[in-house]
Symmetry: C2
Subunit: 213 residues, 2 copies
């Protein structure tokens, strides 16, 4: 068994050392340590029809049967238009970010006021499906319409896990392979590093279901 030491090759930061870092520095660092993340835009609409669009790097698979996705919502100590709209209408969309719309997607993270639609501000197209109140992103290759299912308040830091059920899944025709696979690399899917870095992906391999022995 090896032993991790404070040697010249690795740098060890303890919890106390992390907490002593300047806040912004720690934020940049700690948003990177878990690796690259999925890059999605969440689209919502208020009860009176004001659309909102925001980049999220925290969408997480919750289950396939039935189909659920979750995402982490930051503290509601400042206005959270996405959250307010989801609570008001019960629905939202998750739309995958591609290489073509990375800059517009990132720009949605700016603090626009409630009366500004990020769709208009950054130049992305709001699309609708009959009877579903939340706007999809026309430019995204994978679009999903979700219905709010449950939320969990994380008392450790005032964040929330928001879980929704996939009501609609929109994919380019002919994309799904015989076994249900989607070749994400053919969709110009990007990954996010932390809050500010974007990556293209290149396939390394697809492996069989692993078996012991």
């Amino acid at each position: 068994m090896g032993e991790i030491r404070k040697n010249e090759m690795y740098r060890l930061f303890t919890y106390d050392q992390l907490m002593e870092m300047p806040s912004r520095y720690r934020g940049v660092l700690l948003n990177k340590v878990s690796g690259v993340k999925p890059a999605n835009l969440i689209g919502t609409q208020s009860k009176d029809g004001q659309t909102n669009l925001a980049v999220f790097n925290s969408v997480v698979h919750i289950g396939a049967n039935p189909p659920y996705l979750g995402f982490i919502l930051r503290p509601t100590t400042v206005e959270r238009h996405t959250y307010d709209n989801i609570k008001a209408t019960g629905v939202y969309t998750i739309n995958q970010i591609t290489t073509q719309i990375v800059q517009q997607a990132h720009q949605t993270s700016a603090k626009y006021d409630r009366t500004t639609s990020e769709f208009n501000a950054v130049g992305l197209t709001a699309c609708y499906h009959e009877g579903f109140q939340a706007p999809f992103v026309g430019e995204s290759h994978i679009k999903m319409g979700l219905q709010f299912e449950e939320e969990h308040y994380l008392s450790c830091n005032d964040t929330r896990l928001v879980v929704g059920k996939i009501q609609y899944l929109l994919l380019p025709e002919g994309l799904v392979e015989e076994d249900g696979n989607i070749a994400l690399e053919q969709l110009d899917s990007v990954a996010i590093g932390g809050l500010d870095s974007y990556y293209t992906i290149e396939k390394l391999g697809r492996y069989a279901y692993a078996k012991a022995n």
Copy 2:
């Protein structure tokens, strides 16, 4: 505003159509739709010293102040060694998967019995930090030691969000840039597509904090 139609370019799947798919097919498909995910190994140890290592694609950033990470745990209807060990010892490690260890990392998803250490079975090195009971992965470039903080049971599908506080962060010396940034592309970080596909990453850009106007 555009309108999404069931035309020749896009295929629309409703919730009912998704639920009618064969279970395995739906699982493959729905694990891909949220985009590429972070690729991490979670290391634990039972009270009597049996080590366990498992690949997770659901690690999510919860907060930087204090530093919290979460991950989604599948239903405990079958043995979940990782969960049992975390509950027993209160600690675990999250270790980033690199291109060099992708195949070993994937192989940890096989159903080994409780008396088999995946470290030994797949050929990865368990490393320890003084006084911390969970094993780190020697081959990983980013290693974190976490203390269990809170868990949330998702009643919609019997999964759990497990949240931990980062007690130790281990990084290659000289990696952290002046502003706290880590260049993930220099660490051979990989991304996971669904449950079976692995991707290398290439930097597209790092963008400034977005401002309105």
